[in-house]
Symmetry: D2
Subunit: 484 residues, 4 copies
């Protein structure tokens, strides 16, 4: 960037701006990212100024041609951003003047930098929210596809996703893959891997809807709010709102230029989404460890170590987990900023963009990477199933069996608890207990219950709505597909 001495607002000021101040105040280093939005906004504003007769048709044409030429220059990398011109708006306006002369100055009629930046930023955030909603949906499709793949029976190929995932036909297992379900990271009950995938699909569906709600709530154009009070010019705010793809103009000019809750809501939705992706990451890190050994991540999405050549590090998952903190920090930063400012616009609000850009970039790459990586991950059915059988994971089934026989549930629970204690002491599994040992615990028990205690039976039995029985999961899968 180079520096020019001329400030557009400098009429009154005697002393030149201090160099460090210029650096501190300038936002062009990051807000140049809004150049598309800024030019879209200006094009719409110019068209409206023409339509309402505020500008002459020829003036509008000059301005629009100039703006379009600048747009192409920027896209082509032929634009020199100047720090001394502070921000994206002034850089573009200055370039317009260089290109078309004084008529450029008419573009800012009935507009202020306050409503200009507000509309640019809203255009960006709305698009960002829609984009992340779409990426959530894409990852959701992957989750559904993976759920189908591991449900057994070869239906895997049927899922169509927006990301055009290819499901490797030979990878489709004949029977549902059984995974341990954990609570407190202790094996609790066997579940289907497909059920686990669908749990994340549920979270992502809510995340998606949060992004969509946010996009809808911010779907208003602040353009025409001017500095803060509106303008005396006979502008047509409905027209600019429509041209820019907004549902309507904002209803109050102070609110239009001064509010940033749309950015906060976006960051909150990002944070919640990242919390989910961090949980997923935590599980992927665990499940790909030697100790768990449930899944092998693809080489393409892991890295090695400079000194330990055997390592296959789940970097994507680790970074995703770490980057949740980053996005939370973005949210915290902007909440703190907004919280401390009176109406309408204060320079503090310039701090609104970087957290949003950072959160958007972070969330979008994490969503994309998981959509890429998960279909390439290989789950190890035998290891998973073996793990699912550990830790007396079907003890609950035994308790349910006793309760079904009429024993109050809490008593059944105590009986089974004592049996487990006995097994731990003698190194046995529940299904290895003899009828005598079982009867000693409770007279209604005998060795015929053993069959109840396999992980397959346990899974099959959990037929309640939303439960992990293959039949239920198959239904849930169908419903999930229909909502894609």
């Amino acid at each position: 960037m180079t520096q020019t001495p001329k400030k557009l607002w400098g009429g009154r000021f005697a002393e030149a701006t201090d160099g460090l101040v210029e650096l501190f105040n300038a936002s062009v280093g990051f807000d140049q990212r809004l150049f598309e939005q800024d030019i879209r906004g200006s094009l719409a504003h110019a068209a409206m100024l023409g339509k309402t007769g505020i500008l002459q048709p020829l003036e509008v044409k000059q301005i629009q041609d100039g703006l379009n030429a600048i747009l192409e220059d920027i896209r082509a990398g032929n634009f020199e951003w100047k720090l001394s011109l502070e921000d994206v708006h002034m850089n573009i306006e200055s370039a317009l003047r260089d290109r078309i002369g004084p008529v450029a100055g008419k573009l800012h009629t009935a507009r202020s930098r306050n409503d200009q930046v507000a509309v640019d930023f809203r255009l960006f955030v709305k698009d960002a929210a829609l984009e992340l909603a779409s990426l959530c949906r894409g990852l959701r499709a992957v989750m559904v596809s993976e759920a189908e793949k591991y449900l057994g029976g070869g239906q895997g190929a049927g899922v169509e996703t927006t990301l055009e995932l290819r499901v490797d036909a030979e990878a489709v297992p004949p029977a549902p893959l059984i995974l341990p379900g954990y609570t407190h990271l202790q094996v609790a009950q066997p579940i289907l891997l497909s059920h686990w995938f669908l749990a994340y699909a549920e979270m992502l569906e809510r995340d998606e809807s949060r992004f969509l709600d946010a996009a809808k709530r911010m779907d208003e154009s602040p353009l025409g709010s001017s500095a803060l009070a509106g303008t005396p010019w006979p502008i047509d705010r409905d027209m600019t709102a429509r041209e820019l793809g907004f549902a309507r103009p904002t209803r109050n000019s102070l609110d239009g230029v001064g509010s940033r809750d749309f950015a906060l809501e976006f960051l909150a939705a990002c944070s919640i989404n990242m919390a989910h992706l961090s949980r997923l990451s935590e599980e992927m890190v665990l499940y790909s460890s030697f100790e768990f050994g449930f899944v092998t991540l693809p080489d393409s999405h892991t890295t090695g170590s400079s000194i330990m050549p055997q390592k296959k590090n789940p970097d994507v998952s680790e970074l995703a987990r770490g980057k949740a903190g980053r996005v939370f920090g973005d949210l915290m930063a902007l909440l703190t900023v907004v919280k401390g400012t009176p109406l309408a616009y204060n320079k503090d609000l310039q701090e609104d963009k970087e957290p949003v850009f950072d959160a958007f970039d972070t969330v979008s790459i994490v969503l994309r990477l998981y959509a890429e990586m998960l279909p390439k991950a290989v789950w190890h059915a035998e290891t998973c199933e073996k793990a699912a059988a550990r830790g007396f994971s079907t003890a609950t089934d035994l308790a349910d069996h006793l309760a079904l026989g009429g024993l109050p549930f809490r008593e059944a629970h105590e009986v089974v608890g004592k049996l487990v204690g006995y097994c731990v002491q003698y190194g046995k599994q529940l299904w290895e207990l003899s009828s005598e040992e079982l009867k000693a615990a409770h007279p209604s028990l005998n060795s015929s219950v053993a069959e109840k205690l396999s992980v397959q039976n346990s899974v099959r039995s959990r037929m309640s709505f939303g439960g992990t029985a293959p039949e239920r999961v198959r239904e849930a899968l169908g419903a999930a597909k229909s909502r894609l």
Copy 2:
């Protein structure tokens, strides 16, 4: 609280729980607040167990009678919460056993503490979200009512609000009250106080809709998810969902017991709402200072000082501003918790309740207090209007006038900027400049522009949609009333 040695899950454990551990683990100190929800959930569960034939009608009746009696005891303050029983669920279940004997143990059939706590907490958070939405609406009604009061012309009495506010008829001013509009805390342009009130009404309307969206998204019953995998019992989850007022049961048992994004979304909505209320508070603190002097807060909502008897401290606003940080902290706390936990349930999630309780209590009292305080605050029209005229606040109007004459806006801006510099130097106001002085700045100017430069004219001129012209504000007010 007293302690009892018996833990309901203690079958296997040889050693007694450590005292400090008990204190650390126990949640009954705060989750007893969920007793209504817990008993509602148990009543619905019992009814369903009866309907599906899992329990006998007599058993159900015993359980329900017992629960209702306990509910009355707790409401009446006749219930001894025991720390040793850890949480609200175990305390109530234990009391039920004391009251009806071993049949109490059947209530927990086909249920786990995991889905029990999940449904209790959702019931609470959903109600909390609806309550805060309602309080936002109430404060919005106050904003609208105040906007009407200060718009002039006596229409103030027409607004009906859910809080049954009395509008003091004699306080209604004859003309719209004009306030300075600020940017950078520098006087920018005159606005109507009514316009300012309606700006906050807009923010509150979005806050309200965020609470409603959150309530809608969480409107699913996790009851029946059991520990994490569903249950083999032939339960009817639709029935319990319906009985508890949920729109439907959750679709995945892992998600049902393990997800807390509903609480995160609630806390995010609270945080954004508090950011708005903190901005309002910042303005109330400023405007009630000696230096601004725009408003006098009611004695009922201010306090004095122990050593400076003349002080009238805007405590409510200051505390509200400070408590925004507290609510942000609540959100950060839970984001951090959720982010670090694999599926399905981990004890970390016990940390979900206190932030939600704290945020709910904080936001609800702040919303209530503002709804009480604002109608009693007295705005000083003369001081406000005088302030609105300061700082060359109508310079933009002059620039608009020049631009209307065909001067490109940026040039008009420079002309006016130089005039203002001249005024500052010679201690004049813009409307005091002679035709000569004006002409020297730009040939098209003469003293006839002075009338353009009064704050009344400035306000009246801002006729764009969403602008501060009384006519527009009146329309906006009507629309705002129709959305109450």
Copy 3:
């Protein structure tokens, strides 16, 4: 609590305080916790007022007797806190007046609630910082003791700790217990469990020093700053500082009443400490899982499940991990509050106490619980060592061996990387490779390197300062003991 109509600052106010306002403003619900500090402060202030002749000796005696009687009442639970009296200060002052009459009113001479609350709170935070430093030291002693226990050779009994830990003599293993060292949760290199304990001891030592630094920096008495400007009374601030155990009085009255960085620094030290304890917790949760199986936590510090009787949940670790978020939230809350307030005192600052109390309670219980739990945890040497051998954890040793022979390290790394790939493909361990296989990878290799590749040899070889070789760890242990 009951309510009384009389406010001590109420001289000027015509209208009674609104009930909800009273509830909102009152801090006595939480600041009553400062009663000891408040009375200590008042006793010191009264003594100084006597010494300087501002009060008569008899007046001082009356006041001091009254305060001491109140102190005993509160300690004995015979004190009725009144919400209407707002805070701990007014409650005690009002009780003093009830007890000794109007002379009570003289206690507040040359003092304001601003410096009173500032000194009370500093006394608390300083003590809290010292207490947490001491608890860090206690847990550090446990870490050192455990390090010694698992280092082999029976020296375990020699560590004396402030917590009087008994080391069970028969639990002392004959040889150092070897644990896998992880990076990316992938087994990286074998380490000693003792080395792992000492790593946490290092973190805790820094945490301790942070608390001590904080305590030292805040070791100044603000008493005598009065409302904000100092006082005309001839007070002796050195005397009150000395009496209250402070190193000196604060040097600027505005700073004395308005600054809260001491509380922020305390919360930051708590947060960093909790981050460390959360990492420890994360490892304890992992290592006590079935999949890792490295350690069995004591029954006294784990809990069961209502539906899965076999579970032994690491609740303490999970909750500690979760509560890190809570403490971070406390810090964020107060940072946000302080950030937004001009000098000197604003009501926002009333929000300073609850986060500090909450963080102190949280950190202190977690430190205590770990000091209790760790000595009772049983580590499984065989499982740990077996895990440490997995994953080609000694591949680095092989690379080092090659580099020692002159091969540039990066080339050695590639050679070993290829060998590991070969082993993975053919299901072999590095030490199972034949001389032919080894030579094929690099001519300098043969089967004699196998002995280099045992975990024992690997650990023994890491003799660099701070390394995990038993000899080094023994030295580090001695040094760590000397710093207790």
Copy 4:
């Protein structure tokens, strides 16, 4: 940046890294900032490898010459950073190999990327902490200089500061400038502007000491910790620590590579410092508003508006206030990251650098800008003093007068409170009351007290240590100068 296919850790991997993964994993975009530290670390490591005989002198020379040449290239902007080489370390190592051939591979002997990044980052953070301490000291010097300037009597020229500030001799006022002291943003008591400056000097002195404490605590070299367990090579860690300017090597290799509390402590110190600077900013924004009018900020540090040419916006202060949130977000981000990771190194920790860089840049520019701006700000004595007399700001003095006469302080407070109420009602000032009016309030009063009630007298009377009496402030100033 360009991309090369060769990964240094790629021996084992069959599949090329995914493009998006590469982008996600690569840190070179931000960690290239550590190039000086990285090369310093490598030079010290190479020297040590030579000294201990691990490498041959010639090898060391080749490596060092190569590194120095690369250092110059980077400084001169002649270095092509490659994204495909992931990070600063690999980029430099690869360039070294290009330059000196395979011997470059020997530099990594007895070192891992884990200890390499740990030492680079510590070097940076330690320097950053020392730099910010120095900038705090510089701003403190400005505060002291300004305090002297406005204390009256012409001593202003005597302050020497590290920033070589010129104090404009003619700006020195003859008498101390009196400012209103605020609580609750209500005028409370008159203070000296010099006293106000010294309050911030106190805060900055503590901030400075926090940075110094942090720098001291992190003054340990982790180099030689290797991957996590130390190394078998006979390295000399004392030597590398010394060469790099560290006080000593870290004592535990796991802790050395895995801990990031030094970065957290740095961020916490930054956050507290920013909270103070935000408070200062809040006051500057207020005091430079039309309504307060206490100070005029220099043109060089303010900006205008695009539509309102008369505005002089306190952008620096507003941005500084806003950027506090940003730094808090940085702290929150890293706390969240560290909190969730087991030992030793996890990729999550790659997220440690950007928050630190961002916080350092932010805090350092804000400290610099205030050091530049404050001496150029012009305070308006008359306006300040007039404001200080408002709001019955000397009512406390009257209460003190009554208490001096023997009235219990609380009663004196009530008497004055009633008088103030009377004054408010009749539009009088306290010093305008007649003897009759005064006697009616309390028999001991008469019009001779009026002289007590001037702001000059009020200020002069506050002679307690740390108080605002000119005599005390002069002493405090002397002491503050001696601590620079």
